[in-house]
């Protein structure tokens, strides 16, 4: 079967062709304008290096590389801060790029530059009926599914107020049953000590947090800028996820600055140990390919990766038995202070003695960055690609909003394509958290770690730096783990057969009881017909396992399974 059902807009051929665009005509101007506005760097603690400092430093470095016996006696150079000689370009003004007439008929060759004063055609809001079905879809895409009654409540709010409630939930609190079970340590998760607890702690938040969109977006970012505990210690992992949770609502540029030197990232993509003598290309490559610009769009070359790898050098940490890696810091002596050229031959080429911040700025100033972000974010919520007009307006919105993701998410959650378009397969976390929310159940079992892992998504453990493959959640193995997840709930509330003695439950009553068990979800007509079919069928033939009450008990258990293991329930 083809896993390629969720069209990745970055991979769709038409889009790929469209996005392999020439840079904007005004890129050079914008760069020049941006360069003029260079803020003066203020040294924080260290004095700025003088030419003498640098000479001494170079001599010291050379000396250090010699064999001990051959080293000269030199005075250790004082610590100082290296300031690039060439002015570093800074971000464009937050009010957006150079004004241009509003885009009405976008040419496939033009790069979108227009700031759009008000939302026009491309970002119009869905205006069709907003009932329980639509509210359910919103809650599954922008969160982890409705709690019982929540879809009705959101439907009552109407689309705009419902989206606004997700965007601004009025603070994040945890509501619902607290974690319980003997797997806890002193009644708490122990994410830094026990395997799987990082997953459980976060799963608890997806189930109980009142900031559903915040947890959804943290997961979107974890999938986008994917760090795995396979290569990073639990303490650093946890701090790193919190960085995403705290940072996604702010400027993406600030977030990327923090991520670039985040201890987990420095460890994960070999920022540690990358020095001017042997720069490591790992982070430079993924910064452009996966995080900010996208592969195969003609945005950068292998030479850019090598140049940026040099600029990103200089980070180090200490290691000790009791602390592990600690004291992460920039060490100017290890940084390659020579000139680098980014995007050579392009109108937006820049040249200078760049450091890590300059690298992040150069990548985010790239003309293809904003459209990458817009497509990446769109693809996290909607399976069909945006129209060119919609993409242009998302790009403009990103630029005019100070490079924040939140306004884009708001526009996407209101977009007609989300409600009129096709279903999306629920990610394993969404499926599992969604059932827990529907049941009003807290984390009282640590099985959710292996179940989610088998279903294809263990939090903190994406398969690699490109995150999970959202186009291939379902296969014959992962389906079997969804079955285990459903079984867990049915087993946890197994019905006493005696309670069905003397029962006159009709097939329809049986189906309604099973649906109520799951908070009365919206289901398709064909799914409902399958439940009705089972309820009737189970009455039709003699049952060798016992009397009527046994048959009715078994029927209820099987119906409860059928509500959530049905293929139609796997999508929303």
């Amino acid at each position: 079967m083809s896993p390629a059902v969720l069209t990745d807009p970055l991979q769709a051929p038409a889009e790929a062709a469209r996005l392999r665009m020439t840079p904007p005509a005004d890129a050079a101007e914008r760069l020049a304008a941006a360069t003029k506005k260079k803020k003066k760097r203020k040294p924080k603690k260290l004095p700025v290096c003088t030419a003498k400092d640098l000479r001494q430093q170079r001599a010291w470095d050379r000396n250090q590389r010699l064999k001990k016996s051959k080293r000269k006696k030199l005075t250790k150079p004082r610590k100082c801060r290296v300031v690039p000689v060439v002015p570093t370009p800074t971000r464009p003004s937050p009010t957006g790029p150079v004004a241009a007439p509003p885009v009405t008929t976008p040419s496939p060759d033009a790069f979108p530059t227009a700031p759009v004063a008000e939302r026009t055609d491309g970002l119009r809001a869905y205006s069709g009926p907003f009932g329980v079905k639509e509210a359910t879809r919103l809650l599954f895409r922008g969160g982890f599914g409705p709690k019982p009654g929540q879809a009705q409540e959101f439907a009552g709010l109407g689309l705009k107020a419902a989206v606004a409630r997700l965007i601004n939930p009025g603070g994040a609190t945890l509501q619902g049953p607290a974690p319980a079970g003997d797997f806890l340590v002193g009644g708490q998760f122990a994410p830094e000590d026990r395997w799987g607890h990082g997953h459980l702690e976060w799963l608890d938040r997806t189930v109980r947090s009142t900031d559903q969109l915040g947890e959804r977006m943290t997961l979107v970012m974890h999938d986008w800028i994917a760090i795995s505990d396979a290569g990073v210690g639990a303490r650093q992992m946890r701090t790193s996820i919190q960085l995403l949770r705290d940072g996604w609502r702010g400027s993406f540029r600030e977030l990327m600055m923090k991520i670039t030197v985040d201890p987990a990232m420095l460890e994960w993509l070999n920022g540690l140990g990358s020095d001017k003598w042997s720069p490591n290309e790992n982070y430079a490559r993924e910064l452009m390919e996966l995080f900010c610009l996208g592969a195969d769009r003609g945005a950068y070359t292998e030479a850019d990766i090598r140049e940026m790898a040099r600029a990103l050098t200089g980070w180090r940490a200490d290691w000790s038995e009791e602390l592990g890696l600690h004291n992460y810091r920039f060490d100017a002596r290890r940084w390659d202070e020579k000139e680098k050229v980014f995007f050579r031959g392009q109108p937006y080429e820049r040249r200078g003695k760049f450091n890590w911040q300059d690298t992040v700025n150069a990548v985010l100033d790239h003309p293809l960055h904003a459209s990458f972000v817009a497509l990446k974010l769109w693809g996290a919520f909607i399976p069909t690609p945006p129209t060119p007009v919609t993409l242009d307006e998302l790009v403009a919105l990103y630029r005019s909003s100070g490079e924040r993701l939140e306004p884009l998410v708001e526009a996407i959650l209101q977009h007609p394509d989300l409600y009129n378009g096709p279903s999306v397969t629920k990610a394993p976390i969404t499926y599992v958290a969604g059932m827990l929310r529907a049941r009003g159940r807290g984390i009282d079992d640590d099985s959710w770690t292996w179940i989610c892992s088998g279903a294809g998504q263990q939090l903190w453990s994406p398969p690699n730096v490109s995150g999970w493959n959202e186009r291939a959640w379902l296969n014959t193995t992962t389906y079997s783990y969804r079955w285990y997840a459903a079984s867990n709930h049915v087993h946890a509330e197994e019905i006493d057969e005696d309670s069905y003695r003397g029962s006159t439950e009709t097939p329809q009553q049986a189906v309604e009881r099973a649906l109520a068990f799951w908070g009365n979800p919206v289901i398709t007509a064909e799914h409902r017909a399958a439940l009705d079919g089972l309820a009737v069928d189970a009455d039709a033939t003699p049952y060798w396992n016992g009397g009527e009450h046994v048959r009715r008990t078994h029927r209820q258990h099987a119906l409860r399974m059928l509500v959530v293991v049905s293929p139609d329930y796997q999508v929303s």
């Binding site: 079967m1 083809s2 896993p3 059902v5 969720l6 991979q11 051929p13 790929a16 140990g273 990358s274 020095d275 490591n280 290309e281 790992n282 490559r285 592969a295 195969d296 292998e302 990766i305 096709p422 999306v424 397969t425 088998g454 294809g456 398969p463 493959n469 291939a472 379902l474 296969n475 014959t476 193995t477 992962t478 079997s480 079984s487 049915v490 197994e494 019905i495 398709t524 064909e526 799914h527 399958a530 439940l531 079919g533 089972l534 069928d537 189970a538 049952y543 060798w544 396992n545 078994h554 258990h557 099987a558 399974m561 059928l562 293991v565 049905s566 293929p567 139609d568 796997q570 999508v571």
Partner: protein, 472 residues
């Protein structure tokens, strides 16, 4: 689209064969064994094509084998992360220029491949097997098995992204937008709409090489654990529930991802039949495998069991199997000793798998491809590792395989000099193209035209056709 096909095949099956009610265990409910079902379908095929189309005895036998499921099988082992081809087969041997260059490029890592006469690679004595690749070396020396070695395989204008390069290998083309795998397209051509096990990934996520556009394929992590039980329901009620699910799964809604979920649900229940057959009839391996805890080793054992499974005399209709080698090979830092450990478990596992297949008498219908998305940079970096490179190595193994080289080792001479093996960016130049290898496997092993499966395979020689090595 594919779901309509899937549903239609059910309808067609219903027209020609005794209708098997959805949910009934497949052959049991009709009183037919799998073999007789297969033979009936073969009978229909013969009626359609007539005797003239089935000329010789060989063809009839091939057709019967086909109906009994004894297809030729291709087992793909993906080495994840880009393995260091220059360590697997290191340029240590009778060519001192290679060695001197390697010492320059890899002052730290070169030492990990100790000189040992027993490891010299017979087909090119300027190369030596890594000590941890002894499993492959032993297969090379095996008198029965053949091993074809590509010491520098890749493609022109190499891409250094794991994901893009791996994607090229998976889709069998240099196309970023491809969505079906090269083995998937083979299955689309020869496979059936009701047999998910024809393409099976031994693991939790489906190999993209096996992604099809209209026939089902399967992924299975552990054949003994594969089943769908109901808690607190059994007998007639459980059977009715499964029947409802299977009936729902066979419908098409027109909503792509919902239909995809339905296809997977239907395939999952179908797969239960095959897995329970394997779990109950195929003995566990009697030959010995490495004792390391490794899902790769477990999945090799499961693959051998699946290939050895017989249901009423018929083999499971497996055509392609995808496995992932032990460990990760993206060795940007501290390449050793992790690389050696992973390489040892992977190659010893492969060696043990062939012994297992041979013990089960299944080896003759199997060929194995071992591949990675690229090799690593000839020059080591400052973290005692190597960054992404260009040409990597690949191996084709099997009793029918012609022993030898697929392309030569290009050497390590710097770009620009005579006989340069390195490209301008310092990476190893490819001397064979993976698409030519695929075309050879399709045509010489699987017996189907590569044109239409590997884009460009139909080009005339001299007009961009890939060089196909003689593998079989």
């Amino acid at each position: 689209m594919h779901c309509q096909d899937y549903a239609r095949s059910h309808a067609l099956a219903g027209a020609g064969l005794p209708m098997i009610e959805p949910g009934m265990p497949d052959p049991a409910g009709t009183g037919l064994t799998r073999r007789s079902v297969m033979l009936r379908s073969l009978g229909l095929g013969m009626a359609v094509y007539g005797a003239s189309a089935l000329g010789g005895v060989d063809q009839v036998e091939a057709a019967i084998n086909d109906a009994l499921g004894e297809h030729k099988v291709l087992v793909s082992v993906f080495v994840d992360g880009g393995w260091d081809a220059l360590s697997v087969l290191a340029p240590f041997g009778n060519d001192h220029r290679h060695e001197a260059r390697l010492a320059e490029l890899r002052p730290g890592l070169a030492a990990s491949v100790a000189r040992d006469g027993a490891n010299v690679f017979a087909a090119d004595p300027s190369l030596s097997w890594h000590p941890a690749a002894a499993g492959l070396r032993d297969l090379w020396n095996d008198p029965v098995l053949g091993v074809a070695v590509a010491p520098a395989i890749g493609y022109s204008s190499p891409n250094y992204s794991h994901f893009t390069s791996r994607h090229f290998w998976e889709v069998g083309a240099l196309e970023v937008s491809g969505t079906t795998g090269w083995m998937g397209r083979y299955l689309d051509r020869v496979g059936r709409a009701d047999v998910p096990i024809q393409g099976v990934t031994m693991g939790g996520s489906l190999s993209p090489s096996l992604a099809t556009s209209n026939v089902p394929v399967a992924a299975v992590y552990d054949i003994d654990a594969y089943r769908y039980d109901y808690r607190g329901a059994s007998g007639r009620v459980a059977a009715a529930a499964t029947a409802e699910l299977r009936a729902l799964a066979a419908k098409a809604s027109g909503d792509t991802q919902r239909d995809q979920a339905r296809l997977v649900t239907g395939a999952s229940f179908r797969l239960v039949d095959d897995m329970s057959a394997a779990a109950t009839t195929a003995p566990t391996s009697v030959t010995s495998y490495p004792a390391d805890s490794s899902h790769f080793i477990d999945s090799l054992k499961d693959t051998a069991r699946l290939l050895g499974t017989r249901v009423s005399g018929a083999a499971l209709p497996i055509r392609c199997v995808a496995l992932r080698a032990h460990g990760g090979y993206d060795t940007h830092s501290a390449q050793e000793p992790a690389f050696s450990t992973n390489l040892r478990i992977t190659t010893q596992g492969i060696k043990a798998f062939w012994a297992d297949l041979t013990a089960r008498g299944q080896q003759d219908r199997v060929a194995m491809l071992v591949w990675s998305e690229f090799g690593r940079r000839p020059a080591e970096n400052g973290s005692a590792g190597c960054d992404h490179g260009a040409a990597g190595s690949a191996f084709v193994i099997g009793p029918s395989v012609r022993q030898g080289l697929i392309g030569e080792f290009p050497g390590l001479v710097t770009h620009g000099a005579a006989g340069a093996g390195l490209m301008r960016d310092g990476n190893l130049r490819a001397t064979s193209d993976f698409r030519g290898l695929y075309a050879a496997l399709l045509e010489q092993w699987l017996g189907t035209d590569a044109d239409g499966i590997v884009p460009g395979a139909g080009n005339r020689p001299g007009a961009g056709a890939f060089i196909r090595p003689r593998l079989f």
